[in-house]
C-alpha cells in the first residue's frame, strides 16, 4: 500500500484531481486500460461530490486548513492493463490532499505554526512513497514564489532524512489550456523549463534524477481527440483560477494515471 501526498499551491486542482480518480465511472471508465476502485468511505464520498458538484457545473471549495487528523484519506486500488491478453497489474494508493494554503506558507519565515509542523511531519513520514506536486500558474512572479517554496520544501525533506528516497512527480495541471496543450508531450522542456525556469532548475539540481519526473495533466481534458478545445469554462473575475466543466458528458481527463504509476512502480 503506497502513501502519496498531493501538494501544491492553492487552486492548482488537487482536490478536483482526486475527485476525478474517485469518480472513474464518468472519467476513466471509458478507458479499458485502467480501472480504479475506491476502497474507503472518504473516497466514495469524494466520488459523490464529483457527481453533485463537478457534474452539475460547479467547482470545489478550497480545502480547509484544520488539523492533519481531520484530513480525509482517499484510498484506491488502481488496475492497469497495458496490453490486451497481458495480465493486469494493480496497486493500492492512499492519498492525503493538502490545503494549498499550508503548502504556500512553508516559505514564510514565521515558523512554529502548529498546523504547519503537523503537515510537514505527515508529509515526510517514512511510509510516504512519494509526493504528487501540482502547479498551475506561471503569471509574473509565480516562478519566484514557487522557487522559494520548493527550496524550503527540499530543505525540510533533507532534514527529515527523505532526500534519497522520496519520489516527486511534478505536474503542470490544467494542461487543456491552449498555451499548454501543445507542450504536453515534453512537459519538462516545453512547460516547466519554459514557464517556471527557476523552480525547475532547483528541482533538477537538488533532487536525485531517478526520484523526479515531470508531467502534464488535465483533469478536465479537451472536448475530443480531434477537437482540442478545452472542456472548461472559466469563472469571470477569477483570472483562470476557477473553472468548471463545459460539456459534462465529454469529461475525459488527460494523463492523470501516469504520475501515480511512476510514483508507485518507478
Amino acid at each position: 500500500m503506497g502513501n502519496i501526498c498531493v501538494i501544491g499551491p492553492r487552486a492548482s486542482g488537487k482536490t478536483t484531481y482526486l475527485a476525478a480518480l474517485a469518480y472513474k465511472r464518468m472519467t476513466i471508465g471509458k478507458s479499458k486500460q485502467f480501472n480504479i476502485i475506491p476502497l474507503n468511505d472518504d473516497s466514495r464520498e469524494i466520488a459523490e461530490k464529483a457527481e453533485n458538484i463537478i457534474c452539475q457545473g460547479e467547482s470545489f471549495e478550497p480545502t480547509r486548513v484544520e488539523s492533519v487528523d481531520t484530513l480525509p484519506d482517499y484510498s484506491f486500488k488502481i488496475a492497469v492493463k497495458k496490453f490486451p491478453r497481458i495480465k493486469e497489474e494493480s496497486f493500492q494508493l492512499v492519498f492525503k490532499d493538502y490545503p494549498g494554503e499550508v503548502f504556500e506558507k512553508i516559505a514564510e519565515s514565521d515558523a512554529g505554526d502548529a498546523i504547519q509542523e503537523e503537515f510537514i511531519e505527515e508529509c515526510f513520514r517514512k511510509d510516504v512513497e512519494g509526493c504528487l506536486i501540482l502547479f498551475s500558474d506561471w503569471i509574473k512572479g509565480t516562478d519566484n514564489h514557487y522557487n522559494r517554496i520548493i527550496n524550503r520544501f527540499l530543505e525540510l525533506m533533507d532534514s527529515h532524512d527523505r532526500a534519497k528516497d522520496l519520489r516527486l512527480a511534478v505536474a503542470m495541471s490544467k494542461c487543456e489550456r491552449g498555451e499548454l496543450w501543445s507542450g504536453r508531450l515534453d512537459p519538462e522542456t516545453d512547460l516547466f523549463n519554459r514557464h517556471l525556469p527557476m523552480t525547475t532548475a532547483t528541482l533538477r539540481e537538488k533532487v536525485t534524477p531517478k526520484n523526479i519526473r515531470f508531467y502534464a495533466i488535465s483533469t478536465f481534458g479537451v472536448l475530443r481527440r480531434n477537437d482540442p478545445r478545452p472542456n472548461r469554462i472559466d469563472e469571470q473575475g477569477k483570472s483562470g483560477q476557477a473553472s468548471v466543466l463545459r460539456e459534462i458528458p465529454r469529461w475525459q481527463p488527460y494523463n492523470i494515471i501516469a504520475p501515480l504509476y511512476w510514483l508507485n512502480k518507478g
Partner: protein, 250 residues
Amino acid sequence: MGVIYIGDRETGKTSLAMELANPNSHYVKVTHPDYENLKVMLYDDAEGRTKATDASQALYDRALEIQVELPTGKKEILLEWLDTPGEIWRTRWQQADENQPEWQKFLGSIVDSEGILLVVPPYREIISGANREDYITQQQWCNRFERWVKFFRQDCPKVRHLVLCLNKADLFCDVNKEASRLEYSPNRSPMTWQKRNAYVMQRYFRPIQTQIEHLNKNISGLAIRCFITSIHNRKLLELPWIYLGSFLAD
C-alpha cells in the same frame, strides 16, 4: 456551521427562511422546525405578513434541519440558521453606543458562517406594475451594493459562499417561466449551475456585474452566485439551498 441571512429592512429575509419550511416542497425539505410553529413566532396574522425582525438583538439563531435531494440522493444537513434584522445596517443603529456589543457579536458570527445569503430588493426600473415608488432606483441600488462590497472585503475575508438573492421576483418577472428555465432536477437539470448563474447575472444583475467580478477577484476562495427568489415560487425559493446543500452536505 451556519448560514446567515443578511440584507436591508423589508427585503424578505425572514419570509424566505420561513417559507422554506412550508411543507409543500420539491427537493428541499425543512424537517425541523415545523412551519406552523415558525409562523406563530414570525408571522403577524392580523397584518397578514411577517413581523419586522426586532433590532434589539442583531442575531436570531435557530437550529435548522434540512433534507436536500442531490443527484446522488437525499442528504440531511444540520445547520444554524441565523436571521438578522435589516435595521442593523442603518447608520442610526450602527452609531448608537448601546448597539456595539450586538454588532460585534454579529461580526463574530458572520466570519464563522459557511454561507451568506444576501437578500436584495428589486430596483424601481425593473418592477412592473404595483408601487414602484416604494423601491429604490437602480442608481441607489448600485450604490448600496458598493457598500456591501466594502463590508465583505473588510469584514468577511474568509467567506466561501456568497449567495445573492434578488428577492420578490414575482414583482419583476414571470416567475413560472423563469423557474422552469432555471429548474433543478436531481436527474437531469436543463442547466448547470454555471449556466444558471450566467443567465441570472446577465439578465438581472447586469448593473452590478463589474462590482461582483471585482469582489470575486479580491477575496480568494470565494464563490459568488446570483439567484432570483420569490416566496411565491417554490422552485426559485429552493434553488439557493440546493446550491448550498451540494457543498454543505457531508
